[in-house]
Symmetry: C3
């Protein structure tokens, strides 16, 4: 990609292995700087706008924390009801508005493709924080950073991805990035929530080894890492289908006891029932560390997009 300065971050597939190495290096740098308890002022005088048209805690708060940790300011659309969207404004006009006030825009919107549409409307850099069932690339990057830190390397891993693989935009971008590193995948889901065929066929064509299964234990025992996802109620139009599949895959102490060796567990959170709280103290449970890594990765991305740090 060369410099990220002034660029949009829209899709997992825009990053090469070399780009990812750079992002990991910069995230690691900011993580160390924060440990020194230094106030950073790299983005002093800069403004981030957060436009969230869907509920969010983690993504919005970690972007806002990242911006302020670098000395920048934040403006936030707030709830849709209290903004001009309630007056019938189009997404494009709202984004154009934010682009007049801010130096970078983070957007989450229920429509797939909305972030790209926003990026086409303005020259201000757009960061996609989730577009419907599409992509959520900064989540994938923080997942990659977490895997790198937890396992020491990204190469030749066996990874089980579990849960709602159909609607889970998080895992779509993650698979995209991990596949650059000769990862071997187990896709573990109920039949109705399988990984979309365009993703599996693309992986297969590129010689990536994948196996689709409903057997979580077998996949886990063969993996270095499992990536759990929530069965997202808000993605279902038929609630009876949701009720039928939601309890399919659950990690609890009973499950951990069946494992042959320690496993590293990631989850983008929020969780509902799919990881029991009794698992939280398990050494491989990395999902809270994963959240914290989100701040470092987003600091790196903001600094790269706004200041072009190499």
């Amino acid at each position: 990609m060369g410099s990220l300065k002034g660029k949009d971050i829209l899709h997992g597939n825009q990053f090469s292995k070399r780009d990812i190495d750079t992002i990991i290096k910069n995230a690691s740098y900011f993580e160390k700087e924060l440990k020194k308890k230094k106030a950073l002022n790299l983005l002093e005088g800069k403004i981030l706008a957060t436009l969230f048209f869907e509920p969010s805690t983690r993504t919005r708060l970690s972007f806002e924390a990242a911006m302020q940790r670098l000395g920048g300011g934040v403006i936030s659309l707030g709830s849709v009801e209290s903004s001009s969207v309630a007056k019938g404004e189009t997404l494009t006009d709202t984004v154009r508005t934010a682009s007049q006030y801010a130096d970078v825009i983070v957007i989450r919107h229920p429509r797939t493709g909305s972030a790209r549409e926003a990026a086409e409307a303005v020259s201000t850099p757009i960061i996609n924080a989730g577009d419907g069932t599409g992509q959520h690339p900064t989540q994938a990057l923080l997942d990659i950073y977490t895997i790198y830190k937890e396992l020491g390397s990204l190469k030749n891993l066996v990874v089980s991805i579990i849960g709602d693989l159909k609607n889970g935009r998080t895992v779509h971008a993650l698979v995209e990035l991990l596949s650059l590193y000769q990862t071997q995948f187990y896709f573990v889901s109920p039949g109705a929530l399988r990984m979309p065929e365009e993703i599996t066929s693309n992986l297969t064509q590129r010689g990536i080894k994948i196996e689709e299964t409903e057997d979580m234990l077998k996949a886990t025992n063969a993996s270095h890492l499992i990536y759990m996802t929530r069965i997202q109620k808000e993605r279902f139009t038929d609630l009876s289908e949701y009720e039928r599949v939601k309890g399919s895959y659950i990690i609890d102490e009973a499950f951990l006891k069946k494992l042959k060796k320690k496993i590293t567990i990631l989850h983008p959170l929020p969780r509902v029932d799919e990881i029991s709280t009794e698992v939280d103290d398990y050494p491989g449970a990395a999902y809270f560390r994963q959240m914290r890594n989100g701040v470092f990765v987003r600091m790196a991305l903001l600094a790269m997009v706004l200041e072009g740090i190499p």
Copy 2:
């Protein structure tokens, strides 16, 4: 006015031509400083409180961006439902509260006269960001700044103001300010949404030339500038009246083709249908530049109110 330090900004008519010159000069200064990409710290340690009792995107976000661009901080009431207003608190008590925490307060409230009422309750400077169908003076000032930048002068202009002239608080303050500069006005609206009689008679008494018409094309062809406004659904109690008049005045490519010369187009936004998106690339379409100017003008006003810059 002398110095604006510690003063309220409540109504368009509080500003003389000389005041407006000063505001334009200061807005222009901050616009240049931001282009140099310098972080400014004039308002470091100061706090702005934003109290919006009605939906807003542009006004709130641009004030919050302006404050932070000058190094200051922001506290925001948020939605009415999540604040003490839900516990039955009066406007005056809410404003008194904010005045204990902040150095300047920006308020939008549906009741005409509410900003003045707030200003009488506290010594902290109050900036009126819209009081019902009353005034919205900072919008008028950013409009003036935009006209000055787009046309090079404020003197002897012919201006068409189009749309809902009855309920449009934005245009009431704008007409007030423009009338100081020998402006000649066309007021273009459906009969039910005409400019209030107290405004037209005041202009006429002062020798300002006005013409009320329903003919948008004739008015536009005779003008240097058109100022479009949205027919605001939320101002109607009778929705059938809204449906009848909303499509009356629309600018699209077909309309532009009928014009004899290039025209400058302003709009306070948000728009719904009254300016087609196909007009956005027209060189005279100044409404996005107008929004950006809002930050510079509000930086000037905040600096003048809080620090008394000359």
Copy 3:
């Protein structure tokens, strides 16, 4: 307590007289610094997270102002509807999330004990900003600071506490702290809203003189200070009971005329009808000054918790 660095602030009873003296000294220091109009940067690079699961204006805004007055940044959960809580997340997980992003967390939640539960889940300092009918210790501390400033001393005071003493978490913590200073109390309330028996019996056992009465005038005439509270509609499940008791205790000009001497009046606000606005200009009406003191006390607490200032 020794240093407050890294500690939680959960309950009024965690503070000794010596702790309170330190907090008063630090609040007074920051009050003076702000009068010098200096921008402070003690907490530069630090982040406060505000998690309010119930409506609030004063507490949230004054914490956010306090943090920014010290140079720090703020992230805020916003309304519950727009956060992951809407996706079914537990309180503990939400708090764990905030603890990954912020250096200190302020929480208000309707469930008694929730703040302690949050504090047990994370090592990041938790400040309780109200847990149901439980505690609200920073309000009690700002009340104490206000009494100290208004009356010049905390020792040997006679204090009337009036209104909803059953559900008023504010007064529970205040009574706890004031009882350290040989205060004599009048508890003035309708029968249904009396001070909980565990509090009165604890005071009596410790030799604190208390009198429960429904006679506001008698109590006031015997006191240095009255502390009014709102009859909180949102605490009633039976609205007819609310309607019956809400008008029981009201301070207006007529009441003031019956007093034998000037009285100091505090109220945590918001008020509804229990203090008439005609009382606001009465010299003893200290409730707006009390609000402002909230910023200084919260600056002191944030600085003590985050930087361990002595």
